[in-house]
């Protein structure tokens, strides 16, 4: 059943992936449920953005005021969606979660308590600045996997320390004290 109820409920509504359609109209992701109910603009959230990015995806009607936004339900695994819906969902998630994965570090420069990074990511080249405080600007997610948070609260990920080239590894060793 994927008819969302208006009543407050703690039970997660699971959306049936076989009967759920997601597609784009302009930049809006639309959703059609199995009873034909149509939502012209929905927004997606990962419940576990780090540990499991393609499962437990929340579908909700967005609003700037969080009290007025409202959850339609959850897609357990996007692999179960039909292909075009899955592609739309993947695009939406890719747009919502802009967490570039660092592939190569060209340079890290330290100046007055800030680190200036020049990197190449899976989304293209980027320069960013982090506070030179290991405690507040980096998080270790698991062994060899790091999250770096810049001064604008943008996030960058190092997926696997070992798979980076030697220069990048040396930069990280020196500045992030890995």
């Amino acid at each position: 059943m994927d008819t969302p109820t208006l009543h407050e409920s703690f039970e997660t509504v699971l959306l049936d992936p076989k009967n759920s359609r997601f597609c784009y109209e302009g930049e809006n992701l639309t959703y059609t449920g199995n009873d034909g109910s149509f939502y012209p603009r929905v927004s997606l959230r990962r419940c576990f953005p780090l540990s499991s990015e393609n499962t437990n995806i929340v579908v909700r009607i967005p609003d700037v005021d969080p009290e007025r936004s409202h959850e339609l339900g959850m897609i357990e695994d996007i692999a179960e969606l039909d292909e075009s819906s899955r592609e739309s969902v993947e695009r939406e998630l890719h747009l919502y979660y802009v967490v570039p994965s660092i592939l190569r570090i060209s340079s890290i420069r330290e100046e007055f308590g800030f680190l200036y990074w020049t990197v190449n990511t899976d989304r293209g080249p980027k320069e960013f600045v982090i506070r030179d405080s290991i405690i507040s600007s980096t998080r270790q997610i698991s062994k060899g996997r790091w999250l770096i948070i810049d001064i604008n609260q943008s996030r960058y990920e190092i997926h696997n320390f070992e798979s980076l080239d030697i220069t990048s590894q040396n930069f990280l060793r020196r500045y992030l004290l890995l």
């Binding site: 603009r41 890719h94 802009v98 308590g113």
Partner: protein
């Protein structure tokens, strides 16, 4: 128009061509903003161009340029920024339908928020609205205009005017000039005393030991050396004492100034700066300043020493002096290398220790939870891991140090060897005497130390100016809520309150209260209800003038609050907050906080009125019981009743109860309610409450929703209306038995 020209200048020609092809008017450009995210979420460019009539979104990715959206402005009803992760999106509402336009990364949020604000204003007020001024945006360096990374500074570190900061510091240090110049005299004396002994040993070797020309000088020379040592020790001790004294007194003075300034600043400042950061500024920054002053004194001493030794060395044997300089660059490089190599190790160790400590801290404060959930073993494992980590990083420090220290000593030693060889040859060739060589070698030992110390001077100097600048900026901070110079006094207050079209937002772009108007008669008891985030507390903040309104006026007794002297205003307003705050001191002092001159009788009367007298007099130390930081533990209800006594003693005409009873149990609430009932007599009272039972005797209720007044009227009226208040009551009565609410 030159703003237009500057808007145009940044747009790539391809984008401009497409823009014009789609009937864009570049002469009437209001906004031109580039995002850094392409439609597919990779880094790329999209342009938001707004002319007089239309909004265009043009993509410009990998050499291809095309228009993605084109909306007539008159159709846009609303424009908002929606935050995402690492980025945000701009959306507009057209014919009740929302359209996502584009994504942009976090660093551009502010600019797009301005653009959205402009679009909203246009939708509301029409085409006359002035286009946004992006130059005013956010925190930029006042000097070079670059975006500021550290919002606690107003100019970026590279723009700090060293000279200016130093001059200000010197000014601040003016009261200590006498001591400071005395300190410098001592320092020069010390340097001379340092330079003397090798000179004497030279005579000792040349005239007494080797040539035996003046054997009778031996006792005199050794005596002289002893005397110098004694002098030196006394001077060193006194110098250290004086330096510490100056820096301590100086920073204590700065700290005092900072505290005095702190109390002048308005609430808005405290919102911008979290308590922790302020504490750091006042405690750590001044502490560090003190350390740095000492360090700077050391640097100056070293400079004098290096120059002094240099002069002596060159005057004794110029050619040997040159050889001394050969290892000097090596010493400097080694020192810099040391900082680069060793510092990361030290920091890594420090961080691992920090993690260990904070884990221990969490564990100890959460010990009940750990035990209750039986997770002792898991925590132990976690501690062991962190401890191992700390151990490993300590070992790495030691290893690095072990590998590095010999290198440094080699650098120092190598210089000596060169002198031994070159100087030795000179002695053999009888160009210089043995005494000169020995003196040379002992000067050399004193030379490299200060030299390597000076290599780190720039680092310390940077830190020093940054910290000083931060301190000065704090002292320069102007309170946002300013008292007018010709502010009026309130003589006899009746206690009427009027809100006249009040709009206010902590961030002006996101108003919390939107055009709120109402009138409260003197002596009325007004309940303010509404869902959280509706603006209840904000309402109160404006009455107390913790903030100034964005637009509209708040009046007390018909007088604009901005006209009233601040002390005067607050003297007539009493507040009881949700979490009572007690200062460290006795209960009596806490009750008499706002009126320290109150007599004991008055204090007891206030406590009685607040229903607090009984429990206070039962305490072993009665009214003298020390509460607050480190004091006796009182229950929430007891603390609350003390804070009510405080308000009663102040006897204000306007009383504000901000969730005064929401954190206590029903029985305590009943007692507090009894106390409050005494308190509200003859005063204008504004009570914010979650528990609606506390509002049963209110004259009127103001129900707020999304920053607007949803309804206003007596409780009975509102219940009959079946609006927001009715709904809130319904929800509560479903969750709990409401024993006080009428007609439910």
């Amino acid at each position: 128009m030159d703003t237009n020209a500057s808007l145009l200048a940044s747009i790539p020609t391809n984008v401009l061509t497409i823009f014009e092809k789609n009937e864009g008017w570049k002469q009437e450009l209001k906004i031109s903003l580039a995002t850094d995210l392409a439609p597919d979420g990779s880094f790329g460019e999209q342009w938001l161009l707004v002319d007089d009539t239309n909004l265009h979104i043009i993509s410009h990715v990998k050499g291809e340029t095309w228009e993605r959206f084109n909306f007539p402005l008159e159709k846009i009803e609303d424009a908002q920024i929606e935050p995402c992760v690492g980025n945000a999106l701009l959306r507009v509402t057209i014919e009740q339908k929302q359209h996502n336009l584009l994504h942009f990364s976090n660093e551009q949020t502010e600019r797009f928020a301005l653009a959205a604000h402009y679009l909203r204003q246009r939708a509301e007020k029409g085409a006359e609205v002035a286009p946004p001024d992006f130059t005013s945006e956010g925190q930029r360096c006042l000097s070079c205009g670059k975006r500021l990374l550290d919002p606690s500074l107003k100019v970026c570190p590279s723009c700090i005017k060293r000279g200016q900061v130093m001059r200000r510091l010197v000014n601040l240090a003016r009261p200590y000039w006498g001591q400071t110049s005395f300190k410098f005299l001592m320092m020069i004396g010390l340097v001379i005393l340092d330079l003397l002994p090798p000179y004497l040993t030279r005579i000792l070797i040349d005239q007494v030991l080797t040539t035996q020309a003046h054997t009778e000088w031996l006792a005199w020379l050794v005596g002289g050396l002893l005397l110098i040592q004694i002098f030196r020790v006394t001077l060193v001790i006194n110098d250290a004492l004086l330096t510490n004294r100056i820096s301590t007194v100086f920073t204590a003075g700065v700290r005092e100034q900072m505290f005095a300034h702190l109390k002048k600043l308005s609430q808005e400042f405290y919102d911008r700066n979290e308590t922790g950061r302020l504490m750091t500024r006042i405690n750590q920054d001044t502490e560090e300043l003190q350390g740095l002053i000492n360090q700077m004194a050391g640097f100056i001493m070293n400079i004098v020493l290096v120059i002094g030794i240099g002069v002596v060395l060159f005057s004794m044997a110029p050619f040997l002096g040159l050889f001394v300089l050969i290892p000097a660059p090596f010493v400097l490089v080694a020192t810099l290398y040391y900082h680069r190599r060793m510092n990361p190790h030290f920091r890594r160790y420090w961080i691992s220790r920090w993690r260990l400590n904070s884990m221990l801290n969490t564990f100890l404060s959460g010990i009940q939870v750990v035990k209750a959930f039986g997770q002792d073993d898991q925590e132990e494992g976690r501690y062991r891991d962190l401890n191992q980590n700390a151990l490993a990083s300590r070992l790495r420090v030691d290893q690095a140090w072990a590998g590095f220290f010999p290198l440094i000593s080699f650098a120092f030693g190598a210089g000596g060897l060169i002198i031994w060889y070159v100087g030795g040859r000179a002695v053999l060739a009888e160009v210089i005497t043995l005494g000169t060589l020995m003196a040379f070698l002992s000067y050399l030992g004193m030379f490299y130390g200060p030299l390597s110390n000076m290599a780190s001077v720039s680092q310390a100097l940077n830190r020093f100016t940054t910290i000083s600048q931060r301190t000065f900026e704090f002292l320069d901070e102007e309170p946002k809520v300013q008292q007018k110079p010709q502010s009026k006094m309130l003589h006899k207050v009746d206690g009427s309150i009027e809100f006249d079209g009040v709009t206010f937002g902590y961030n002006p772009f996101f108003p919390v209260l939107k055009g709120v108007s109402f009138c409260i008669e003197p002596g009325e008891l007004i309940g303010v209800v509404g869902p959280s985030g509706a603006g209840k507390t904000t309402l109160v903040n404006l009455i107390c003038r913790f903030y100034d309104t964005t637009s509209g006026v708040v009046r007390i007794d018909g007088m604009d609050v901005r006209e009233i002297a601040m002390d005067e205003l607050r003297k007539h307003i009493g507040i009881v907050l949700q979490t009572p705050f007690l200062f460290s001191g006795s209960i009596a002092q806490n009750i008499a906080y706002a009126r320290p001159e109150a007599s004991r009788q008055e204090i007891i009367r206030a406590a009685k009125a607040a229903n607090a007298h009984e429990f206070i007099s039962n305490l072993p130390e009665g009214y003298d019981t020390i509460v607050g930081e480190g004091g006796t533990g009182l229950s929430g209800g007891e603390r609350q009743r003390i804070s009510i006594s405080r308000a009663i003693l102040l006897d204000p005409k306007i009383l504000i109860l901000d969730e005064a009873t929401s954190s206590v149990d029903t029985e305590t609430e009943r007692q507090i309610q009894k106390a409050l009932n005494t308190l509200v007599q003859g005063r204008t009272t504004i009570a914010i409450a979650h528990r609606l039972s506390t509002l049963y005797n209110a004259d009127r209720i103001i129900a707020l929703e999304h920053g607007r007044i949803a309804e206003i009227g007596s409780p009975n009226q509102l219940i009959e209306q079946k609006g927001l208040f009715y709904n809130l009551v319904q929800i509560q009565s479903q969750f709990a038995r409401l024993d006080g609410v009428p007609t439910v």
